[in-house]
Subunit: 378 residues, 2 copies
């Protein structure tokens, strides 16, 4: 198997499993207990919180564990709106993850007004558009760091400064960016930042929300006193430990991530674009994550190509896994290239440090074969 869907999910690392196991097998107590068998787990959670905080340069007290990136995204927007009950306007972009877009659409039903900023053909945002969209009614801006389908990077620092200068809260979905580029929240005035563990080798089912000190926050999942009363529900200790360990490893890998992954991605991308006719890159050539390549194969339906690639042992995707069950074309590519069929005829390859040059060469050859087969079958 050649796994090139690391923006979908990643392998749980053996070190992460090893770190989690004791909290399934022997130390399965409830951290909120008064007896030591349970209460000693509070320390374990705090260690994991430090590890996750470290990955983004945050203070541990600024990190709340959630069940996933989707919950973190919902929770951040919810908190911002609750902090400004009089303000009924949000700004986001047309290419956000479904957890932001679908939550915004639900808010529209409740009477909120939402501006969906457009992107250009390269997937880039115009800061002037954001500037014009902000009004006195705007409670929060939610704009992602790196796009999950194309890897395109938004100018987060400039967005954050603009929001700060206009007194608007800024939430950043960094689910795809974290572990792939260095994030240092003290240097950027982001108010809320979403993370999820399974994009960097922790298991699925655990996420985190960074909330800058003094930024207003309220629970999204209301319950007991867990997470300083900001997220109810008995703590999933093993998964929290797993996310902590994975964050620690991701921070180390950051030093070599770009150097290892970019050449592999470029070999793949150039190999396909140069040898397969009627192909087209989706997403800006440089303002982009080092691991992601989104390519349109004109005249080839995504699903047909994915099936053939799967038979060759290659795992890739036609966009967000979260929307893969739907037959709808990618809303991201559609927003970038509304006049073309690019959104139904594209493949996302997302690499990781574990991939090899051999795998990449094999993939280029397989893609050539598969596309040839499909073209000849039409």
């Amino acid at each position: 198997m050649i796994y090139l869907d690391n923006n979908g999910t990643t392998q749980v690392l053996p070190e992460v499993i090893e770190a989690m196991m004791p909290y399934f097998t022997t130390d399965w107590g409830n951290p909120s207990s008064s007896y030591k068998f349970g209460s000693k787990l509070k320390t374990v959670i705090e260690t994991a919180r430090e590890q996750v905080a470290d990955l983004i340069g945050a203070h541990p007290r600024e990190v709340i564990f959630t069940s996933c990136g989707t919950e973190s995204n919902n929770a951040a927007i919810h908190a911002a709106l609750k902090a400004h009950p009089g303000k009924r306007h949000l700004i986001t972009s047309a290419v956000e993850h479904s957890s932001v877009l679908n939550y915004c659409m639900a808010l529209e039903q409740e009477g909120y007004r939402v501006t969906y900023l457009p992107v250009d053909r390269d997937g880039l945002l115009k800061l002037a558009d954001l500037e014009h969209a902000i009004t006195d009614e705007t409670a929060v801006v939610s704009l992602m760091w790196a796009n999950n389908e194309t890897g395109v990077l938004f100018p987060v620092k400039e967005i954050a400064e603009l929001c700060r200068s206009r007194g608007v809260l800024y939430h950043c979905d960094a689910v795809q960016a974290a572990s792939k580029i260095a994030i240092d929240v003290p240097k950027i005035s982001i108010d809320y930042l979403s993370l999820t563990g399974h994009k960097f080798h922790a298991p699925k089912g655990i996420g985190a929300l960074y909330v800058r000190r003094k930024t207003p926050i309220s629970p999204y999942v209301y319950g007991g006193h867990q997470e300083h009363g900001l997220r109810g529900g008995t703590e999933s200790v093993p998964l929290i430990v797993g996310m902590g360990k994975a964050a620690q490893l991701a921070r180390r890998h950051l030093l070599v991530y770009d150097k290892k992954v970019r050449p592999l991605r470029d070999t793949l991308e150039d190999g396909i674009l140069n040898s397969v006719p009627n192909t087209e890159l989706n997403g800006h050539r440089t303002e982009r994550l080092a691991n992601t390549s989104n390519i349109t194969f004109h005249g080839v339906e995504s699903e047909a190509l994915l099936i053939l690639l799967d038979k060759e042992g290659i795992c890739a995707s036609s966009g967000s896994a979260c929307l893969a069950d739907s037959d709808e074309p990618s809303h991201v590519i559609k927003a970038m290239k509304p006049d073309s069929t690019a959104s139904q005829q594209m493949i996302r390859f997302s690499l990781d440090v574990g991939n090899s040059q051999e795998e990449i060469r094999g993939t280029v050859a397989a893609v050539q074969r598969c596309v040839r087969t499909l073209h000849s079958s039409y």
Copy 2:
């Protein structure tokens, strides 16, 4: 260690860990993928859904996986309110779990009116109170099946019938009841029912919400197409599998649960009440789960007794683990006995089939010693 805090959390069973492991180690794909390595996991999730549905007699399509019982409780109430946007009244009780009470309080801030039904000294509810509280404005009634602190059972069947006859949606928090008593949803007109895995030997971090067919439902965590679009977030496959396996085992254990646990609990309860002076049972003697014993030790602070018991290797609690970090007296016992100090001087023992008569005898003796120590030290 003698573990008597099974209403707080339970040991993850070895069979459950064994069932989960492959989905951490080898089959770590994203179920929403188009390639087989990921998509084959859809079947795995559906098997777990059948197992959880089986535990309560539901159809698998009526089960949505969530991250915990707290989320399930929030989600059910949220869905009911969304279904009736014009109705701004909820009914619950003063002894519900914090995930219901704190969510209701947040709703009050948003302009909803909430009736908190009282209970009597035994923790029982008067159906007439519920009947009088329901108005044309009532969107939903949320009343638990078994109380987590006392084990007291509410008359769920009668509540359900009353709600149905008045056209009001009924949500039942069955987090403590499931696996301890037989639940058969087709026989009771409950609309929403909350479950969590870690109360019956699955890991923490996975829950479920039963939603009766044709009952209105909308997402609480908005995101991708997971769970038929009703709960966003990449599925936590290993934990879902773990909850399924645990549900299957719990269903089997149900046949012997009462027979095994009740005599142990009664030995413990009678042993303490008969030998330790100034003790008092909290909760109805018979309308109660077989595993729970909540006892007030007059003149003895809960925390002091728990510390001594912990030193003797006994794990018990002073109420809900979700509120253990707070110094507040139990809201449940306070609602039952507002005129007494019972709420600050009580211990909850919650047993499981794994406990032995030897452990129980040891616990009675330890309680006697600890109370004597504390009385002599005052």
